[in-house]
Symmetry: C2
Subunit: 227 residues, 2 copies
DNA sequence: CTCCGTTGGTTGACATGGAAATCAAACGTG
DNA sequence: CACGTTTGATTTCCATGTCAACCAACGGAG
């Protein structure tokens, strides 16, 4: 418990070896990388084991089977976003637009810091028609609920245009974000690279925010809209 | 050559058997259904053959391999959308919003008429990181180019807000549409059913259009914006 | 007019390869 | 020594893709 770091055999640590001797986490991390690079269906468990520098069987020991591994990858990483988004949604004293802005910021930050994680979440999970059924997954549904609550707030305060459905718009909002990431993820791995002609990440972010501002905001002053 | 239809043995035709003796098309049609129901990776060629009421080997005879089948499904169906969208983009005398509206209409019509086709195109193709690489596919790129051209028109005529990038917004626009379909497709097969709480197809369509109108339109009159 | 060989579409049992999952043994730590 | 961790060769399974035979129409020869 209280053992100092020295308890771990130093000789075993090469610069390329992760410091953690927690192989469970190593596998999870390797899975993200391998799934991102070759796709869930395109990779073998042995690829993950190799990447994690771990025996084949250990993957099964910890995660049961391939689906279990993907599920673990998802749960572990998504829960972070879910919590962050939920926190934003609940935060008092902010307007609808403030919150949306923070969420967009959150998403793009995550994408720049952990592009592989975002790639796996978006590509391997967002569309895998079976396995969790996406929207049926409580963790996913929770995020949608949070977003929807933000738009409902906007509707109450008049910040959201009349005639826009809070639920429908929450789906579209998430879709915009998701597609933005997919467009980068599918064309290059570098987060600063270009899509199509000349779209940069910053450019995309600005456009998303502009959309939110122009598309949604009624003529209500920020003060009265804050909750 | 000039032989009448009577040449075909009538007895072989049962009411449940498709009239076409063109098994090639039968296979394509069956593939759409099977891919939509079980997913590309989740189904076997034998499933397709069975659905098409055709021998296993015939699928290979016509389409070479499983990937070839998916590619054929995509090409066949996507080309229809591609052409329609391109036509809208080129049509003279319409404002940017007119064109966007037509495209939205087009998409929702397609979804209501051929939900399975849309499901396959969106789910199995949109995210399959290998296989055509989506955005790299010329047929897909062509549609994006058409959409981008519409937004560029808007930029020229001032119909599109200043500071919104035509290319970035074209990605987001497509993403909104795609997500709208995905949200229906993942939750139910009936196009009239509800998602989340109470979102209907009509509701979603209205919201998308509203977004376009509010988010994009500058203060330019329609007349001057038409091209 | 009938018969048979040819051709193209069609069949489905089978061989193949490859990946998932198992499991019994080795390890090492307390 | 005992128990949790780790190993990786072995087993199991099954979907893909192959292939040799089948059939139905046609046309030319007898």
């Amino acid at each position: 418990m209280a053992s100092p770091a020295a308890a771990v055999p130093r000789a075993a640590r090469t610069p390329t070896t992760p410091q953690k001797d927690d192989k469970r986490k190593q596998i999870l991390k390797a899975a993200v990388k391998v799934f991102a690079e070759k796709g869930y269906h395109g990779c073998r468990i042995s690829d993950v084991a190799e990447e994690a520098q771990v025996a084949y069987g250990l993957v099964y020991h910890y995660y049961g089977n391939k689906d279990g591994l993907l599920a673990a990858v998802f749960d572990t990483n998504w829960s972070v976003f879910a919590k962050a988004i939920n926190d934003v949604a609940e935060q008092p004293g902010l307007t609808m637009f403030d919150k949306l802005q923070q969420i967009v910021e959150l998403g793009f930050q995550a994408f720049e810091m952990f592009p592989l994680v975002v790639k796996v979440l978006v590509l391997e999970f967002g569309r895998n028609s079976r396995l969790g059924e996406a929207l049926e997954n409580p963790a996913v549904a929770g995020v949608f609920a949070s977003i929807a609550r933000i738009f409902e707030q906007g509707k109450k305060t008049g910040e959201l245009y009349e005639g826009i459905d809070p639920y429908a718009i929450s789906v579209l909002f998430m879709g915009m974000l998701e597609t933005a990431f997919v467009s980068f993820v599918l064309t290059a791995n570098s987060s600063r690279s270009k899509v199509q002609s000349h779209i940069t990440v910053d450019n995309m972010k600005a456009t998303v925010l502009s959309m939110c501002q122009r598309a949604l905001l009624g003529a209500v002053s920020k003060k009265s809209a804050a909750i």
